[in-house]
């Protein structure tokens, strides 16, 4: 396409000018239109007028529906006022008396829940009592068991510190460092 034709107004460019003016164009289209507008006064004027119109259109807002449209129509007013006037008691009345099946089912569920909770949460009666000697014997056995557990933990700690960490971890690491030192010293010499 020749340079002259690029900046001439045609149908395609006209469509792009409208898109740019109404803010719906891609970046490439916008650049093309702005370049064309910079070179061609007709295009520039057209873009300006479309932009002015688009800005004016964007300023237009919806009309407010007059309230008398709702107020002057009996049928609409009846529906809206029945909604405004509904109160808690009216709603309760409609549930309890206007719809007896719903209220009967709800009552049954509530009563069943109360009965079940009373049965399930009945307090347990303890009939058996321990003597003092049995209690003292049980206490001594519990202390003995705790002592054994404590000894096992202590032995484990000692083994871990003195044998495992020293022989299995620290010694190999030290050996490795020593080898590396020897190698480095040999290279320096």
């Amino acid at each position: 396409m020749s340079r002259k034709k690029y900046f001439e107004l045609n149908e395609e460019l006209h469509t792009k000018i409208i898109s740019v003016a109404y803010g719906e164009s891609s970046l490439a289209e916008k650049i093309q239109v702005l370049r064309a507008a910079s070179k061609n006064k007709t295009i520039r004027d057209l873009l300006n007028s479309y932009t002015q119109t688009a800005n004016a259109v964007k300023q237009i807002r919806e009309e407010e529906c007059p309230e008398e449209i709702l107020n002057n129509n009996a049928e609409i007013q009846k529906i809206i006022s029945s909604n405004r006037n509904s109160r808690f008691m009216q709603d309760l009345y409609s549930i309890l008396f206007a719809r007896p099946l719903v209220s009967a089912v709800a009552s049954f569920v509530i009563v069943a829940a109360i009965v079940v909770s009373l049965i399930v949460n009945k307090p347990i009666q303890y009939s058996y009592k321990y003597s003092n000697a049995e209690i003292v014997n049980a206490d001594q056995k519990a202390r003995h068991a705790l002592l054994i557990i404590g000894k096992i933990f202590k032995d484990t700690q000692t083994t871990l510190q003195n044998e495992i960490l020293r022989d299995m971890v620290a010694k190999p690491i030290n050996n490795g460092i020593g080898i590396v030192n020897n190698i480095l010293e040999g290279e320096l010499k």
């Binding site: 119109t53 259109v57 237009i60 807002r61 919806e62 009309e63 449209i69 709702l70 129509n73």
Partner: protein, 177 residues
């Protein structure tokens, strides 16, 4: 009980859209009021036929169909068209926050001229233009409301913008400055 609440919600949500679209399409306050009331009654009667999420499309489609019916009936009638100032209030945005009376007057006149020009558009172009630019519906929503393909919506919108520009050529900026 719940139906009334749904109905009230829908009415509050869409009453301005219904009234605005009717006003632009019919160019007559009385007819716009009638259509708005009729749509509200139809919403109540058909409340169980659509869900709240799809309400916008259904309501605008019903409004459009009623407007078309009124326009057809009115074709033979004469002298029922009011001036735009009788139909519309000065419903434009004051986002520029200007106290300059000169600028305020300019914007008012511009908005008034644009509204007049929109009313002179052909019916098919005007419906798409109003739904897109003023009611801010999407292409798909307009397509479903007007029962036309999406590409047709885009073409009509482009033609409407061109036609609007031609209509406004008579409104010279020099008149202001």
């Amino acid at each position: 009980m719940f139906e009334e609440q749904r109905y009230s919600f829908l009415i509050q949500q869409y009453k301005n859209k219904i009234y605005t679209y009717s006003s632009y399409m019919l160019k007559n306050k009385m007819d716009a009021d009638d259509v708005t009331q009729e749509v509200m009654i139809r919403i109540w009667k058909n409340l169980d036929k659509f869900n709240v999420l799809a309400a916008k499309t259904w309501i605008m489609k019903t409004t459009n169909n009623l407007c078309i019916d009124y326009l057809r009936k009115r074709k033979a009638a004469e002298g029922r068209e009011n001036e735009i100032d009788d139909v519309f209030e000065d419903s434009y945005s004051m986002d520029h926050n200007s106290d300059n009376p000169y600028l305020i007057t300019h914007f008012k006149m511009m908005a008034s001229k644009v509204k007049e020009a929109v009313q002179r558009l052909p019916d098919n172009l005007r419906s798409v233009f109003v739904l897109y630019e003023i009611e801010e519906l999407k292409y798909k929503e307009i397509s479903m409301a007007l029962d036309i393909p999406i590409n047709t919506v885009k073409v009509y919108l482009l033609r409407a913008r061109k036609k609007l520009q031609e209509e406004l050529k008579e409104y010279e900026p020099q008149e202001i400055f």
